[in-house]
């Protein structure tokens, strides 16, 4: 994917979000630290252009909710920033790459400590498969079949697929 592809995918997902929610007044975007934060901003920009609404964008760091604490180094990348109540809102979790689903599981648990959203949706730029939990994205930029040992790198200029660095 090059940067145009990424941009097109963002717009398409923005349209899907508006369509699925019949408007975006109750929608909040929350990006997962770190890769999902830029994506949440990009989606917010697209939603604003399309619907003329400033969608609130937060970020969440799920380090303290991970299930591999103690198995490998787990430290937060940034402070979680969710300055509004989630009660009754529709939260769209945003991340760059969906892989095993464990990070999303952690994010769902974390969200529940901030309130009780009406619904939580998941938007990812790349779904690379290899799920280890029953988690399914609602909005996908691109399905990208990979080997387990490949690395998916999402950045503003597009998406790269490389060998895992050992």
């Amino acid at each position: 994917m090059d940067s145009d592809d990424v941009q097109r995918a963002v717009w398409r997902m923005a349209h899907e979000i508006i369509e699925a929610n019949q408007g975006i007044d109750e929608v909040l975007l929350i990006g997962l630290q770190t890769g999902g934060v830029a994506m949440a901003s990009a989606l917010a920009g697209a939603l604003n252009s399309i619907a003329g609404v400033e969608v609130p964008v937060g970020s969440i760091d799920v380090a303290f909710y991970r299930d591999d604490i103690g198995l490998r180094p787990v430290l937060p990348e940034a402070v979680t920033d969710i300055p509004w109540s989630l009660d009754g809102r529709t939260v769209v979790l945003c991340d760059d790459v969906l892989f095993t689903g464990r990070t999303i599981r952690a994010a769902l648990n974390a969200l529940s400590d901030y309130g009780r959203p009406r619904a939580v949706r998941l938007a990812v730029m790349i779904d690379r498969g290899h799920r280890e939990l029953p988690i399914r994205p609602d909005y996908v930029g691109k399905n990208l079949p990979t080997r387990r040992d490949e690395v998916v790198d999402v950045h503003v200029d597009g998406v790269d697929l490389g060998e895992m660095i050992r």
Partner: protein, 330 residues
């Protein structure tokens, strides 16, 4: 977040964190826990399944409550070995106690002891992480960390800040750890006390010394007052509390000498009317309650750093690729 080079196994004193970088790691981690503490459900599952034991040979409701709150907000289990002064006789072997606790499968032991070095000895005998919650006159590292955090919170940075620590330095574990932490973070420290309340030697301490609080006050960004204990009078270290207050107390009149933005700090519990005038403790510049509040988050950070962060595991965090779901880290 970059980890310091050596894994932190115990927190016995500030140098265990490996200098400014290590202290900064704790500060950043504390930022996250301050956010957690402000939520409606101020609890994370980070230390589920871990057990933290309190081994308090010295009564301290405040420090224990602070640690206990921290552990609970991390979902750790806690176990109380808090030994009332009556049940623990002088002469009980530290080794026996430590081994007994460890045999129960404890992950961390938080120790407070009236004897300097007791936590060091315990750390040498057990595999569990040992956190010093105050030992004799020696060290109180979590207090120093929360003090650093409070100054950073109010000032953005400790670098270049001029901090006066006033009072009974000689007998103060808080002062010892604060000096190490503040100076490691680039602050300038002046100890203000009568010579009888200074340590017998300040060789190797990167501090200035003054016996004149009035002269120092206009130059400082932070004035840190220590608790003045009554028993010091009977040891002939001071003629009277009244004289101490007159010369080293932060009185209503003396506080006027501070710059407008200077902070007033105190580790608590305060002797209002002795080292600090009652009204001074309640001024907006007094951040004493911030210190207490930050204490919980800092202790969460310390517990998480030792028990959850995995910084002791290979590879160290700085060499790990940043992608959250990179299988190389799984």
């Amino acid at each position: 977040m970059s980890g310091s080079s050596d894994p932190v196994r115990h927190l016995l004193d500030i140098p265990d964190l490996g200098g400014a970088a290590g202290i900064e790691d704790v500060m950043r981690l504390t930022d996250s826990f301050v956010e957690v503490s402000e939520r409606s459900i101020p609890r994370v599952p980070a230390l589920r399944g871990k057990t933290v034991a309190w081994l308090f040979y010295e009564d301290s409701t405040r420090t224990r409550l602070s640690f206990e709150t921290a552990a609970k907000r991390l979902s750790a289990d806690t176990m109380n070995f808090s030994v009332s002064s009556s049940s623990v006789k002088k002469g009980e072997s530290l080794l026996d106690t430590a081994k007994t606790i460890e045999a129960m499968g404890i992950d961390a032991i938080v120790v407070r002891h009236a004897s300097a070095g007791a936590p060091h000895r315990i750390a040498g005998w057990v595999d569990a992480a040992v956190i010093n919650a105050g030992d004799g006159w020696h060290a109180h590292p979590t207090q120093a960390l929360l003090d650093c955090y409070t100054i950073r919170q109010n000032r953005g940075d400790l670098r270049g800040q001029h901090i006066a620590i006033v009072g009974d330095i000689k007998h103060s574990r808080v002062a010892r750890s604060d000096v190490l932490a503040f100076t490691a973070m680039g602050a300038e420290v002046t100890l203000v006390a009568p010579p009888t309340l200074l340590p017998p030697s300040l060789e190797g301490w990167p501090v200035k010394v003054s016996h004149d609080l009035d002269q120092v006050l206009p130059t400082v960004d932070v004035v840190y007052l220590l608790r003045m204990q009554r028993e010091r009078m009977s040891e002939a270290l001071l003629p009277s509390l009244r004289e101490y207050t007159a010369t080293f107390g932060l009185t209503n009149r003396r506080v006027e000498r501070l710059r407008d933005d200077a902070l007033v700090m105190h580790p608590g519990p305060m002797n209002r009317g002795v080292e600090i005038a009652a009204e001074v403790a309640d001024l907006p510049r007094s951040v004493i309650l911030d210190q207490v509040r930050n204490g919980v988050a800092v202790r969460m950070a310390v517990l998480y750093l030792l028990l959850g962060s995995g910084t002791g595991l290979v590879p160290p965090p700085s060499t790990v690729p940043p992608t959250e779901e990179d299988p190389a880290r799984a």
